[in-house]
């Protein structure tokens, strides 16, 4: 507080409302990150493709055509696979599956992680003891292999896959939220709320979660990307939902035509890279905007 630079001084009578200012500062940080806006643009493009899939795709992705393993060209911009399915249509429709899977899995993880983490960190004592043990253990368990085992045992329909991924990756969010809650609990304004007689549930809802949620939000964006990659890996091992066209499954099926039909694997893979990148970049932008210290130092 005795820093003399004058940079952190709060001056009474500043024009503008604080929430607006907060939002503006946030947005400036986000834009400054450079990766954030690029990620947002990429995601917008991907989402547009998903929304317009029926318009963009020349045929249904499962439809067999006569052209077997046709190279990219007019009619089949990305070529066809060994069964004559149009790769471009597959990539376009696959967008829907990937976005759905990624967002639903990450959302499950965010909700579970936030609640468990906030309760653990705020409650402390034996509740925290038990919950954080649980978080630690599940953080150490290799997620991919666990998902693989569960999918084999319980079935591989898309809702199953989404739920299983979501339920295995929440500990990362819980750990972030717990750390936030732990430090927020010691913050003066939370102590003041306790001293004023505020109920614990209200403190969690009004002070702890709203303040602590940002790292979880940033991490959740990264988890969308992680979930998409996990699904791709599962599909590549033949464990994806056989009833939907996903990029991982296309690569899995295209593998037999390598190296004569490189396009069967190249394009679905590129689609994964673009989509996953979009979420990584957004997550990075969020982290940048939320971490003023790193921002000042040019990180």
């Amino acid at each position: 507080m005795r820093a003399d630079t004058g940079r952190h001084r709060r001056r009474p009578g500043d024009p503008g409302r604080a929430t607006d200012l907060e939002l503006r500062t946030f947005w400036r940080g986000y834009v400054e990150s450079r990766s954030g806006p690029i990620g947002l643009a990429l995601l917008a493009a991907v989402a547009l493709v998903a929304a317009l899939a029926p318009v963009l795709a020349p045929v249904r992705p499962e439809a067999f055509t006569d052209a077997l393993l046709a190279p990219p060209g007019p009619g089949h911009p990305f070529g066809t696979d060994h069964l004559g399915r149009d790769i471009f249509s597959g990539v376009v429709y696959g967008t829907r599956i990937s976005l759905l899977l990624g967002v639903v899995s990450a959302a499950i993880s965010a909700v579970v992680g936030t609640v468990v983490g906030a309760v653990a960190g705020y409650a402390g004592g034996w509740i925290d003891e038990i919950l954080s043990r649980l978080i630690d253990v599940f953080l150490m368990i290799p997620v991919f292999f666990l998902v693989l085992v569960v999918i084999m045992l319980f079935g591989n329909s898309l809702p199953y896959v989404m739920t299983v991924i979501g339920l295995t990756i929440w500990p990362a969010n819980a750990r972030l939220m717990r750390a936030q809650a732990l430090s927020l609990r010691e913050r003066t304004f939370v102590r003041a709320a306790v001293a004023l007689g505020e109920a614990h549930g209200r403190i969690l809802a009004r002070h702890i979660i709203p303040h602590g949620i940002y790292p979880v939000v940033a991490n959740t964006t990264l988890q969308v990307a992680g979930a998409i990659l996990t699904e791709a890996g599962l599909s590549f091992l033949g464990l994806g939902d056989p009833n939907v066209v996903s990029w991982g499954r296309m690569i899995y099926e295209g593998r037999v035509s390598m190296p004569h039909g490189w396009w069967t694997t190249l394009f679905p893979g590129l689609a994964i890279v673009v989509t996953v990148m979009a979420f990584y970049l957004i997550g990075d932008g969020l982290n940048h905007a939320l971490n003023p210290q790193a921002r000042e130092r040019g990180a």
Binding site: R2, G6, R9
Partner: protein
């Protein structure tokens, strides 16, 4: 272990008219801020002659730490010297290229920071710091440099009241008071002429602060140091300094011998500051505050920077900069200064 504390070449005290150790002329420093450039230091003149001890007091936002950083050439990103000179032993540091500045640092001017807790690398022992700081300005290399540096470090650690084996400690195992002493010892490795103490005892408890202050006072004599003490606490300044300079919103408002200034301040701000300090002696009374807040330094006022909070301010004060008055070794920057003996 019998080495002299002071530099062998440092003889008796130079005559009073000797060349200043530090001479700051018209220093202006500004920072980037979201709302514009902040004028942190607005035309500062300050002269430290050999053996001088000057206290720079001011509240947060007054620019006192900025002065220290500007002298050392360590202004953070976004800060820059806009005008003026900082002459250290005759050489203007503001025009010196970085590699020459590096040679000056710590040999001619060293600085003790406020945050001793983070001033040492957490994964290195104190000894590593002493050895590398020694090597930075000495020709010796290898084992010889190491043993010379460690020998020097042991002497200095003892001089600041630490056991020499603190050298082998990691910073987190030492208390704040011990680290602050270690930092002072580190500052003395190359027997600097000028020592800047930037809120060096602010984070310490009263008792520890008293210990460190008395050690610094002794070191001032033994090492023949010229010191610039930056503090918000007039008590600390009174303990360590012969002269005091009062900084408000980047302007030096008053300067003079410590006792005279504190007993009979001439600038209204100094007077208010002195009155706001609770005393251990004298009558118990209601404390006084200075109403209002610092002016917006991105748009400094035309006239006196203190006018908005000053009980004596008149229209003229807001129109143009206040006159500077020198008399009897004292300086005051005020249109309506308090009388010579109108005290606190």
């Amino acid at each position: 272990m019998t080495r002299d504390l002071a530099a062998p070449e440092a003889g008796g005290r130079p005559p009073a008219a000797a060349e200043p150790v530090l001479e700051i002329r018209g220093l202006r420093v500004s920072y980037d801020a979201p709302t514009g450039r902040v004028q942190a230091v607005a035309g500062l003149d300050l002269v430290l002659r050999p053996g001088d001890s000057v206290g720079l007091v001011g509240e947060s936002g007054s620019g006192k730490s900025t002065v220290a950083l500007a002298v050392m050439g360590l202004l953070p990103a976004g800060g820059r010297v806009d005008a003026g000179q900082v002459r250290l032993l005759g050489r203007d540091l503001t025009t010196l290229p970085e590699h020459e500045l590096r040679a000056v640092r710590w040999r001619q001017a060293a600085m003790v920071f406020q945050k001793a807790m983070s001033a040492f690398s957490p994964v290195h022992r104190l000894a590593d710091h002493f050895v590398d700081v020694w090597r930075a300005h000495r020709p010796e290399r290898g084992r010889r440099a190491r043993s010379l540096a460690l020998e020097r470090a042991r002497v200095l650690l003892e001089a600041v009241g630490l056991r020499p084996d603190a050298l082998w400690a990691y910073p987190h195992t030492l208390s704040g008071g011990m680290l602050q002493r270690a930092l002072i010892a580190l500052a003395l490795v190359h027997q600097p002429r000028l020592l800047i103490l930037d809120e060096a005892t602010t984070a310490l408890d009263v008792v520890t602060q008293a210990q460190v202050l008395s050690e610094v006072a002794r070191l001032q004599r033994e090492f023949d140091l010229t010191t610039l003490v930056i503090s918000h606490d007039i008590g600390v300044v009174a303990a360590l300094c012969r002269r005091v300079a009062v900084l408000y919103a980047g302007h030096l408002v008053e300067e003079g011998p410590v006792q005279q200034v504190l007993e009979a301040p001439r600038h209204p701000y100094t007077a208010a500051l002195v009155r706001a300090f609770p005393r251990l002696r004298g009558p118990r009374r209601r404390l006084e505050s200075i109403p209002g807040t610092l002016p917006d330094l991105t748009r400094p006022p035309q006239g006196c920077v203190f006018a908005d909070r000053c009980p004596r301010a008149a229209g003229a004060c807001r129109e143009g900069p206040p006159p500077v008055e020198h008399s009897g070794g004292r300086m005051v920057r005020c249109r309506f200064p308090l009388g010579g003996d109108a005290g606190a």
